[in-house]
Point group: C2
Chain length 333, copies 2
């Protein structure tokens, strides 16, 4: 089968589209013939971290498709079912938090392929209201946004949430989910086009990353900040957060190390909350939440599998607003 | 009346025992004739931050005594009532978090005096099971420990809490309170005598600050760390905390600035929670909790008012195990 394979070199240079063997599902497993899959920054991070000595890996943590083979002992799933794929593996309860959650597309083979073999408990019925494109790009980033906002950030109706760096998958889901529960949403970006785009979604304020946020928020303070940027913007957070506010961190796009003043944390009673991915339970909750509020993923662009490198270049350039996906059906005959 | 007054110089050098005018309670206020008061690191921090231009200030945030005058419009309090003093001012609900909570002994005159005038809502009936010495040293540090452990840290029975730097007021209350709810308590200190002392309270492990905590905990990990130290020990916390663990910070005795790895925070789903003082509601809850569990403050030493500087020197040297207090009755005739 055709797949986007990483091998032989670190980073995006190690990516090629080639042939891999199609696997048969073992006991408790199913095989999904993929329709679509989504790109994540995590894929770039995985490619960067792999060396020339690592074995070939099929990338991809997102996906949706149709079951085409069922292993022994699998109950409740039949060939022909439309499914959406849970990206995290071995994380079954909200409380069972693995140190680094294992996910599809590193260490195990992922979804940028004609088929993927996974445990049967790692699929859910595809929500009917979503197109294949929408379902394929949803799993990892919507799960991350859901856990960050609600399980970890405890966002409430009427609270004001700031989402720095609008445009990526997690940030755009977070914007839509937070608005759905009646929160006030403001966003930031370095890119005026993205700010313009986010105004179409009726955000409260769309702030330039380099501006004076306090002035641009007209003195309003925020309850929750959803941080994926880190050191480049962290000090600005302390200017605009309310006492008792929560900074929820799930990414480090500008670097890993942040210097924090303890008194700036504890006098105003701030909480700084780490979060990453999510559990099986949260994935089910998130799908129900999305359907209940009729939230549809924002699709930036869908590429055919053989243009995977092109798709990643768009992501690297930070040009997208919404999710970038792959169409894997070209090879379905 | 006699009082410990800070004036004319920054730091402990500006402290003297002298005469101040006794005030009359205004509308809604009462005057308390103090029996005892407790010392806090906060008093040192206040003295350090004051300049030679600041007006004279009576120090002291803790205290207990007997009401000796009642202002207009005060209901429910009569002259002769035994009371314990709430240290925070203007913080009436858990949610109403002032940026820097105002407390007695800076900016307003405090409790190191024969009498103090405060709003009537800032006193509670003295718990009968406590001696005057015990009641006087309780308020600020027990309130801080209670909010840090329970309101903010959400400590549960069966969880393992690590208290670095055992010996000070907050840390020793936290040890007793955590044990009272059935948590497992481990402590650290640079001082072997304090480790020995804490073993008398049946702590799970008493670790040397400079040791290898992972080895000394025999690989056991902790759910909650109650941090008042900051940079000197912060990196060690990440070695011994469980995924999903909480670091609760209320002090910065080794410095204000900590460098944090974002990925070390968010992959293991850690929370870092700032806390400071507590509200009126929490003070009432804390007093009921202490009485229900028959927790008594650990008294390190009680000094007469005219040895206030001496008392602070003991605190600065970090020699105490439990609270240091002042006896203010010498001047009651």
């Amino acid at each position: 089968m055709k797949a986007a394979i990483h091998h032989g070199r670190s980073g995006l240079d190690g990516l090629r589209v080639g042939e891999m063997n199609m696997e048969e599902p073992g006991p408790g497993e199913i095989r999904v013939r993929l329709k679509t899959a989504g790109l994540n920054h995590r894929d770039l991070f995985i490619m960067k971290g792999r060396s020339s000595l690592d074995p070939p890996l099929i990338l991809g943590s997102d996906g949706a498709g149709i079951i085409d083979a069922v292993g022994e002992g699998v109950d409740g799933w039949a060939v022909g079912s439309d499914v959406i794929i849970l990206p995290t593996i071995g994380w079954n309860k909200t409380e069972e938090v693995p140190y680094v959650p294992q996910i599809l597309g590193g260490p195990t083979n992922g979804t940028f392929a004609e088929t993927v073999v996974i445990p049967a408990k790692n699929v859910f019925s595809k929500p009917e209201y979503l197109s294949w494109e929408e379902a394929g790009v949803l799993p990892l980033s919507a799960l991350t946004a859901y856990r960050a906002l609600f399980t970890r950030g405890k966002l409430q109706a009427g609270e004001h949430v700031l989402i720095p760096g609008i445009g990526g998958g997690v940030a755009t889901y977070a914007m839509l989910m937070a608005q759905a529960v009646g929160a006030v949403v403001s966003v930031t970006s370095r890119n005026e086009t993205k700010l313009e785009e986010s105004r179409r979604f009726s955000v409260h304020r769309a702030l330039s990353s380099s501006g004076n946020w306090n002035e641009d928020l007209k003195g309003e303070k925020v309850d929750v900040i959803l941080d994926s940027i880190g050191p480049a913007t962290f000090s600005k957070y302390l200017d605009v957060i309310k006492p008792n506010g929560r900074i929820v961190s799930f990414g480090a796009s500008s670097g890993d190390s942040v210097e924090v003043s303890l008194r700036a944390l504890f006098y105003p009673q701030l909480s700084w909350i780490g979060t990453s991915m999510g559990s099986r339970e949260e994935f089910g909750d998130m799908l129900r939440f999305m359907e209940e509020h009729a939230i549809r993923p924002l699709i930036d662009r869908i590429y055919p599998l053989n243009e995977t490198a092109e798709a990643f270049r768009r992501m690297t350039a930070g040009e997208q607003f919404g999710n970038i996906g792959l169409d894997l059906t070209f090879s379905c005959t």
